[in-house]
C-alpha cells in the first residue's frame, strides 16, 4: 500500500491553488550571529524558490551558510532580515511557539548525527514522531520503507551507523511532512552505507512526493537532484536544473 500523495492532500484541503507549485519563497534572507562584540554574517541575502515535490541538493564549501539556510527553512532558527514565505506566510514573523507548531506539522529533519533516543527502540523512536502528529504513518510502515522492519525492537546501540540513519529517516518521514530537510545525512557514513541511505531518501521523494532538500559535500550526489544550488559566502551563487535525474546505482562516487 502506498501512502497518499502529499500534493493531492494539500490540494484537497484547498490551501494552495493547484496551479502554484512553489512551496517556499526566500527573499534576501540574512542571518547574523552575534559573537560577543563581533557580528558573524552566516547568510548575506539568499534568494531562492523551492517547488513542491522537488529534490533540491545544496552544495558549497564549509562555512558558506548551507546549514544556516536549512535551519531557517526548517524553523529551527529565525533570520535576521528577509522573508521566508511558506505558502505565502512569512516564517520570519513566527514566534517560537508558532515555529514549534510549524516543525511539528510540516517538517522532517535528518542530521549528520542521527540523534536517536538511546533508550528507545527503533520503533519507539519512530513512535516519538507519530504520537505528536495528526495523520501519521504506522511506525512499522515507516520502518518498512527504509527496509528496517526486522530491526524494530533494537535499540540504537544495537544498530550500525547506516541503520541508525535510516531509523532517523523513518522517524522524519513517519509524520508525513511536506518537506524533508537533510543536513549531510551521509557525512558520517562509508560509501556503501551512504548509498543505502540515499536510496531510501530518493524513494521517499519519488513515491510519496515529499519535497526534499539535501545538503552535501559530495558533488556526485548532485546527480540525484531536480535542481542543484551552489552556496558561496552566504548567498546563492548558482542554480542548475538537472534534466536527467539519475538513480542511486548510477551515481559515480
Amino acid at each position: 500500500m502506498l501512502p497518499r500523495c502529499t500534493a493531492q492532500r494539500v490540494r484537497k484541503l484547498g490551501i494552495l491553488p493547484a496551479a502554484t507549485p512553489t512551496i517556499f519563497d526566500l527573499r534576501d534572507v540574512c542571518k547574523e550571529y552575534q559573537m560577543g562584540e563581533v557580528v558573524v554574517p552566516a547568510l548575506r541575502g539568499a534568494t531562492l524558490t523551492i517547488q513542491r515535490g522537488e529534490l533540491l541538493v545544496i552544495l558549497g564549501p564549509s562555512g558558506s551558510g548551507k546549514s544556516t539556510l536549512l535551519n531557517i527553512i526548517g524553523g529551527l532558527d529565525a533570520p535576521t532580515r528577509g522573508e521566508v514565505l511558506f505558502r505565502g506566510e512569512d516564517l520570519a514573523q513566527y514566534s517560537e511557539a508558532q515555529r514549534t507548531q510549524y516543525r511539528r506539522k510540516h517538517i522532517g529533519f535528518v542530521f549528520q548525527f542521527y540523534n536517536l533516543m538511546p533508550n528507545l527502540t527503533a520503533e519507539e523512536n519512530v513512535e516519538l514522531a507519530t504520537e505528536i502528529s495528526d495523520d501519521p504513518m504506522n511506525p512499522a510502515e515507516a520502518l518498512d520503507m527504509v527496509q528496517l522492519d526486522d530491526r524494530r525492537t533494537h535499540f540504537p546501540s544495537q544498530l550500525s551507523g547506516g541503520e541508525q540513519q535510516r531509523v532517523a529517516i523513518a522517524r522524519a518521514v513517519a509524520k508525513r511532512p511536506e518537506i524533508l530537510l537533510c543536513d549531510e545525512p551521509t557525512g558520517a557514513l562509508d560509501i556503501a552505507t551512504g548509498k543505502v541511505v540515499l536510496d531510501a531518501l530518493n524513494e521517499i521523494n519519488r513515491r510519496i512526493g515529499t519535497t526534499l532538500i539535501l545538503i552535501t559535500h559530495n558533488a556526485s550526489i548532485a546527480g540525484l537532484a531536480d535542481r542543484v544550488i551552489q552556496m558561496r559566502d552566504g548567498h546563492v551563487h548558482s542554480i542548475t536544473a538537472n534534466t536527467d535525474r539519475k538513480s542511486v546505482e548510477d551515481l559515480v562516487w
Binding site: D77, Q101, R104, L128, P156, S157
Partner: protein, 792 residues
C-alpha cells in the same frame, strides 16, 4: 599569584554550573552550621554546668526524711566514703506577695547563719547574705523576685501551717540545685515566676517549722560517686527510724536531669545532623563529578597527551569538591556561630545559670573543617579515579554506547504497548540511572522525614498535654496542703464560694519492689467515681481502680518488669507506718508525665491506717472565679501550693511553642535545602547528559513544555516514590525519638496528626516543584542548532 589554566577551567566550570555548585555549598553550609551550633552549645553548656556545680559544691546525694535529729546526721557523716554532709530544712510554702493576686509557691531552704562554702551553695547576684542575728530575712531566687516585682528590702508573707511570717528580701541569688527551676516533674517546664526558692537563716526555719536541732533534708558529698548506691543503702539504715522518703543521687536530681539530658541530646544532634548533611553533599558531588568526568573525557585525554600526570588530572576533580565544600564550611562557621549565640539566648530562658558563655571553639572549627575535607574527598574520589584511569588514545574515540536496561514492564507487552513514549523514556531513563534515581528518591524521603520529625515533636507534646491536662487531670485547680488532712477540710473547701465541686487526692511516697528491682515512686490515691482524675492510656481507655490494686505507668512497669496480674511490694517511705504491702497490678497505662502508680483512694487510706486522709484537694470552679478563689486561698494557712491546670498547660504551650517554632523553621530550611539541592543537581546532571535527546525532540516539533514534561514527570515520579518511602522512614525516626526522649520523667506519645502528614507532604512536594521550576529555565534556553551540531 598566577592562576594556572587548569584552575581557570575549574573556576569557570564551577561558575557556569553555579546552581549546582551552590547546591553543594548550601548543603555543606547547613551541615557545618548545625555542627558548630550544636557542638558549641554542647561544650558551652557542659562547661558552664561543670564549673557551676564544682564552684558551688552541688551535692552528690540528697536524702529527704520526715525528721532526723542532729545525731543521725553526725552518724551519717562518719559512714565510710562520705566526705561531708549538711543538714537542711526544706519545705514548700505558700507565698503571698503584695500586688500579686495569686498565691505563689516558695521552697524554703535553710542556710547557715554565717556565709560559708557549704554544699549546694548559692551565688549572690545582688544584695547580700544574712547578717548575724537576722531572722526574718530571705535571699530569693533571682527570677522569682524579678517577675513578681520583689526588690531588695521588700517584704512578703509566707504561711507555714496556719502561721504567717513576713520576710524581708536581702539578696537575690541563683543555685546549681535549681538551674532548671522546676518544682516537680509534673511541671515539665520551669516557671520561675510561679515557683521560687527562699533561702532563709537556719534558726528561722527551725522555729517556723518546729525543727529545733533537727532536719528533714540532708545533702552530702562522697569521695567516689561510684560508691553512691552502697553509701545510700548504708545511709538508709542509719536514717530508717526517721522516715526516709526519698534518696536522690546527683544524676537523678531533677534540675540536673533536665540539663544533662539536654546536653546529651545536643551531643547526639551534633553527631547525626552534620553527618547526614555532609553525606548528602558527598552524594551530590559524586553524581555531579562523575558526570563531569564523562563529559570532559576528551579534554582529560588531551591534558594527559600534553603531559599532565594521572594524579594531577584526578586531583583536579578532588579539588573541585574541596573548593565547594570549603566555601560551604566557612559559610557554616559564620552561620553556626550566629546560631550558637541564638541558641544560648534560648537556653537562658530555660536555665538559670549565673553565667552562660558562648565561646568560639577553635578546635570545633578545625574539626568541622577536617570532616568537611574528608567528606568532600569521599564524594569526589570516584570521579578522580575514573579521570585518572582514562587512556589518552581511547578517550579520543567515541565512548562505547551505554548499555540499555529494559524495564520489567516491557516483558508484559500488553501493558508496555499502552505506555506513551514520554513514559517509556522516563521509565528507561530511571532504569538506566538507578543509583541517581535512588538518590533522588532518598533526598525527597529525607526531606519529608525531617519535616515529619519537627512537626511530630509539636504534635506529640500537644497530644501529651491535652492528654494530661484535659483528659487525665480535669480539675481547675489543685490545692496541696502542707500536712495531711481529713474529710473536714475537703468539706470546707467544697463550701468555698465559687467552688462547684471538690474531691480529695492522696499522694504518698513508697518504695515499690518486684523481686530485686525497686524504685521510689508516688502512689496516687483517686476517689471512687472521681470526675477530676482519670487513669487512662493514650487511646483514652480508662482503667477502673476497683477496691485495691495498682495501675502502673508503663515506664514503671517496664522498669520493674511486671505486668497485669503480677504482685509488687509497696513499702511506705514516710515514717508514719511500718510494714510492707503485697499489692496486685491491675493494669499498665501509658502516661505522659511522671512515673506514678494509681490506687483507689479508700484502699490507700486504709493502707496508711486511716479511714480518710488526703494531702490535696481538687476543685472545680465556676468560670471566671479565678481571682476570687485566689483571694480566698491566700487567707488560708497550711497550703503548700496552688496549681491551676490551665497555667501548667499554658506555660508549657508558650515556652515549648516558642522553641518549637524555631526548631521547626530550622528543620524546614534544612529539609528545603536538601530536597532542592539533590533534585536540582540530579536534574541538571541528567539534563546535560540528555541535551541532545531533548534537543532532537524539540526539532521534531515538541514544545518546551512537552520536553520539560519528560524531565518533570520523571522528577515527580521519583518525588512521589520518595514520599512513599519518606512516610515510613519519618515514622521510624519519630519512633526512635520516642525512645530517645522518653524516660521516667516523661514519655512522648507516638502521635502524628493527619494534618502533619498532609503539610509535610505538601511542603516536600513544593520543594520538588521549586527545583523543577529552576530547571525549566535550562530547558527553555537549550540551543537546538548548537547541540545538534556537536558530534555524538
Amino acid at each position: 599569584m598566577v592562576v594556572s589554566a587548569f584552575h581557570k577551567k575549574l573556576f569557570r566550570t564551577m561558575f557556569q554550573s553555579w546552581g549546582q555548585s551552590l547546591g553543594v555549598v548550601m548543603v555543606v553550609l547547613c551541615g557545618i552550621a548545625a555542627y558548630i551550633c550544636f557542638h558549641s552549645a554542647y561544650l558551652n553548656l557542659s562547661l558552664t554546668r561543670d564549673t557551676y556545680y564544682a564552684q558551688n559544691r552541688l551535692a552528690d546525694f540528697e536524702i529527704m526524711v520526715e525528721r532526723a535529729p542532729e545525731t543521725a546526721v553526725f552518724k551519717l557523716e562518719r559512714l565510710p566514703g562520705v566526705r561531708q554532709v549538711r543538714k537542711r530544712i526544706v519545705e514548700d510554702v505558700n507565698v503571698d506577695i503584695e500586688g500579686v493576686n495569686e498565691p505563689r509557691v516558695g521552697r524554703l531552704i535553710s542556710m547557715p547563719a554565717r556565709r560559708s562554702p557549704v554544699i549546694n551553695d548559692i551565688v549572690i547576684l545582688s544584695g547580700r547574705y544574712f547578717e548575724a542575728g537576722e531572722q526574718r530575712v530571705a535571699v530569693v531566687s533571682n527570677q522569682f523576685a524579678e517577675s513578681n516585682g520583689l526588690a531588695l528590702g521588700d517584704r512578703f508573707q509566707i504561711s507555714v501551717d496556719s502561721k504567717k511570717y513576713s520576710l524581708r528580701v536581702v539578696g537575690l541569688a541563683a543555685s546549681p540545685e535549681y538551674v532548671y527551676m522546676i518544682r516537680n516533674v509534673q511541671a515539665l517546664i520551669p516557671s520561675p515566676e510561679r515557683f521560687g526558692i527562699l533561702w532563709v537563716p537556719e534558726e528561722f526555719a527551725e522555729t517556723a517549722l518546729d525543727m529545733k536541732s533537727a532536719c528533714n533534708n540532708i545533702v552530702g558529698l562522697v569521695d567516689n560517686p561510684e560508691d553512691l548506691d552502697k553509701i545510700l543503702d548504708e545511709a538508709d539504715k542509719v536514717l530508717d527510724p526517721y522516715g526516709v522518703f526519698a534518696k536522690t543521687k546527683r544524676e537523678d536530681q531533677l534540675s540536673n536531669r533536665f540539663i544533662s539530658d539536654e546536653i546529651k541530646g545536643l551531643g547526639v544532634s551534633a553527631k547525626i545532623i552534620p553527618t547526614l548533611f555532609l553525606g548528602i553533599a558527598a552524594l551530590i558531588l559524586l553524581i555531579l563529578l562523575n558526570r563531569m568526568v564523562r563529559t570532559e573525557r576528551t579534554q582529560i585525554g588531551l591534558m594527559k597527551a600534553f603531559g599532565y600526570s594521572n594524579w594531577a588530572v584526578g586531583f583536579h576533580y578532588i579539588e573541585y569538591g574541596l573548593i565547594l565544600c570549603v566555601i560551604g564550611c566557612v559559610g557554616g562557621f559564620a552561620l553556626g556561630q550566629w546560631m550558637a549565640g541564638g541558641m544560648m539566648k534560648l537556653y537562658v530562658q530555660f536555665y538559670q545559670f549565673p553565667i552562660l558563655e558562648s565561646r568560639i571553639y577553635l578546635d570545633v572549627l578545625a574539626r568541622s573543617m577536617g570532616i568537611t575535607l574528608v567528606f568532600a574527598t569521599l564524594g569526589a574520589l570516584s570521579a578522580a579515579i575514573q579521570a585518572a584511569r582514562i587512556q589518552p588514545a581511547e578517550s579520543m574515540r567515541a565512548e562505547a554506547p551505554s548499555r540499555v536496561n529494559r524495564v520489567w514492564l516491557e516483558y508484559i507487552p500488553v501493558l508496555w504497548k499502552r505506555v506513551s513514549f514520554t513514559w517509556k523514556m522516563i521509565l528507561r531513563n530511571i532504569s538506566r540511572n538507578r543509583f541517581r534515581s535512588a538518590v533522588n528518591c532518598f533526598g525527597v524521603a529525607i526531606s519529608l522525614s525531617l519535616l515529619l520529625m519537627g512537626f511530630f515533636m509539636t504534635d506529640s507534646i500537644d497530644f501529651g498535654m491535652k492528654f494530661q491536662f484535659r483528659d487525665a487531670q480535669r480539675e481547675d485547680v489543685k490545692v496541696s496542703f502542707q500536712r495531711e488532712q481529713g474529710r473536714d477540710v475537703l468539706y470546707e473547701a467544697s463550701r468555698f464560694p465559687h467552688v462547684r465541686r471538690a474531691e480529695g487526692l492522696l499522694e504518698y511516697p513508697f518504695e515499690i519492689r518486684s523481686v530485686w528491682r525497686k524504685k521510689d515512686i508516688v502512689v496516687i490515691g483517686i476517689e471512687k467515681g472521681s470526675e477530676m482524675r482519670k487513669v487512662m492510656n493514650f487511646a483514652r481507655e480508662t482503667f477502673s481502680l476497683g477496691d485495691g490494686g495498682l495501675v502502673l505507668a508503663e515506664s514503671l512497669a517496664e522498669e520493674l518488669q511486671v505486668g497485669p496480674g503480677d504482685t509488687v511490694t509497696l513499702e511506705p517511705l514516710m515514717g508514719r507506718i511500718e510494714g510492707e504491702f503485697e499489692v496486685p497490678v491491675r493494669a499498665v497505662a501509658q502516661q505522659f508525665l511522671g512515673t506514678a502508680a494509681y490506687m483507689d483512694h479508700a484502699a490507700l487510706s486504709r493502707m496508711l491506717d486511716e479511714s480518710y486522709v488526703i494531702n490535696s484537694a481538687l476543685l472545680r470552679l465556676e468560670s471566671g472565679s479565678r481571682d476570687a478563689i485566689n483571694k480566698t486561698l491566700k487567707e488560708i494557712g497550711g497550703i503548700a501550693a496552688v496549681t491551676f491546670n490551665d497555667d501548667a498547660y499554658q506555660s508549657i504551650q508558650d515556652t515549648l511553642g516558642k522553641s518549637m517554632v524555631i526548631t521547626n523553621t530550622v528543620l524546614l530550611i534544612f529539609a528545603g535545602v536538601i530536597a532542592f539541592s539533590i533534585i536540582y543537581n540530579i536534574t541538571a546532571v541528567s539534563l546535560s547528559e540528555r541535551q541532545r535527546e531533548l534537543a532532537s525532540l524539540r526539532v521534531l516539533g515538541l514544545s518546551t513544555q512537552e520536553v520539560g514534561g519528560i524531565v518533570y514527570f520523571e522528577n515527580m515520579l521519583m518525588g512521589a516514590l520518595g514520599l512513599l518511602f519518606g512516610v515510613p522512614m519519618g515514622m521510624g525516626i519519630c519512633a526512635l525519638l520516642v525512645e530517645a526522649y522518653s524516660n521516667d520523667m516523661f514519655r512522648l506519645p507516638f502521635y502524628i496528626d493527619r494534618s502533619t502528614y498532609v503539610i509535610s507532604i505538601l511542603l516536600t512536594y513544593s520543594f520538588v516543584l521549586l527545583a523543577n521550576l529552576a530547571v525549566r529555565r535550562k530547558i527553555q534556553n537549550l540551543d537546538l542548532v548548537e547541540v545538534l551540531k556537536e558530534r555524538e
